[in-house]
């Protein structure tokens, strides 16, 4: 767990950088919009309770998780890369900061924290609606109604951000 130890001073510097950076690069609007659309569609697909899954339904769930992962990836892009306004060339923030006094690990922790916040909120909403739906349809809640969303809607985006350059 030492690898995930947060350095408060560096986290503050990274947060200040991204706050300042948006004043020069307000071009992540599309990324955010894509994230909102994808996550909204996937959330609708993912509220179906586990008891209702049938063969055809399983594919819908897979698509739902895929769209969700793409949406969250899109949201995290703001903290992983930037686009030069004129040439539209995309550069990695890790590459930009590699000779600066900031650790790649701390950048990753910062990005995971930023992405996990909406993940937890969306997951809580989806799980809540799933449970209500499940009670209404089958009179009970399955353990999978919690495990599946937690695994795919929180752990998966965290792993994606962890492995991102």
């Amino acid at each position: 767990m030492k690898a995930f130890k947060e350095d408060r001073s560096q986290q503050e510097k990274i947060a200040a950088f991204f706050k300042e950076e948006t004043t020069y690069f307000p071009n992540h609007v599309l990324g955010k919009a894509a994230a909102c659309i994808l996550v909204s569609i996937s959330s609708i697909l993912l509220i179906i309770p586990f008891a209702e899954y049938e063969n055809d339904m399983r594919m819908v769930i897979v698509y739902g998780f895929m769209l969700y992962a793409m949406g969250m990836f899109s949201y995290g892009t703001k903290y992983a890369s930037y686009t030069e306004p004129l040439t539209k060339k995309v550069f990695s923030i890790s590459n930009l900061t590699k000779y600066l006094p900031v650790s790649h690990r701390q950048l990753t922790i910062f990005r995971i924290k930023k992405v996990l916040k909406p993940c937890v909120i969306v997951t809580a909403v989806v799980v809540g609606i799933r449970c209500l739906y499940s009670v209404a349809v089958s009179g009970g809640v399955s353990i999978w109604d919690f495990v599946l969303p937690a695994a795919f809607m929180i752990v998966l985006p965290a792993i994606v951000e962890l492995t991102r350059g």
Partner: protein
């Protein structure tokens, strides 16, 4: 205490690496590593600058092993190279406003003063700067965060003679005023012998000791 010390440093893995390199640098001098392209000059700098440990052996900066201390040592090291990254479409001033915040002590007034002294406009966009201006801007950036070690990787390559003389004059003034050490690499032997204090030759990852430049 030496500023920088390499102790039996060897490259790791299959990639090209240094072979049993040991040396130490004292404050207040310009050290140069000369060698042909692919001899290991940039690799040596990368070992110091990289967050990952790419070598076996030990590298000490101001008496402490650099392993696991990337962010701390980068506060005191200024890297000047074409490979250094800045926002291309932002001015010298905007780059400092965005990136200077990562340093514990970045002196914006000193940065502006240094740019002015070097004749670089603070409003000019980075990609519109000539190579010489980029090197000067990077030097001003390194001065502003009070570097005690300047690593210059082929920083003088492609500069016209007037710029080169100016750059070395600036470095000499800096060395006289501050506790700074310069480690530069170049494949131009004549330039090195004329303008630096100590020189070492690197060839195929092996490096001899530093000797006084002529």
């Amino acid at each position: 205490m030496s500023v920088l010390e390499f102790k039996n440093v060897n490259g790791r893995g299959r990639k090209f690496g240094l072979k049993d390199v040991s040396f130490s640098l004292e404050t207040g001098f310009i050290y140069a590593i000369a060698g042909e392209n692919g001899a290991g000059k940039t690799t040596l700098m990368r070992y110091i600058l990289s967050e990952k440990k790419l070598y076996s052996g030990n590298i000490y900066f101001e008496g402490e092993d650099i392993e696991g201390r990337h962010e701390r040592i980068m506060n005191s090291i200024g890297f000047i190279s074409e490979d250094n990254k800045f926002f291309n479409e932002r001015s010298a001033l905007q780059n400092a406003q965005l990136l200077g915040g990562f340093y514990d002590s970045f002196d914006m007034d000193l940065y502006k003063e240094s740019l002015k002294a070097m004749g670089v406009s603070e409003t000019v966009t980075y990609f519109k700067m000539s190579r010489g201006e980029k090197i000067k801007m990077q030097l001003a950036f390194a001065i502003a965060h009070k570097s005690s070690l300047l690593l210059m990787d082929e920083a003088t390559a492609g500069l016209d003679p007037v710029y080169r003389i100016e750059l070395f004059n600036m470095l000499r003034r800096l060395l006289a005023d501050e506790n700074v050490t310069v480690l530069m690499s170049s494949h131009n032997m004549t330039e090195i012998e004329r303008n630096t204090d100590y020189t070492a030759i690197i060839e195929d990852g092996r490096m001899g000791g530093f000797h006084e430049s002529i």
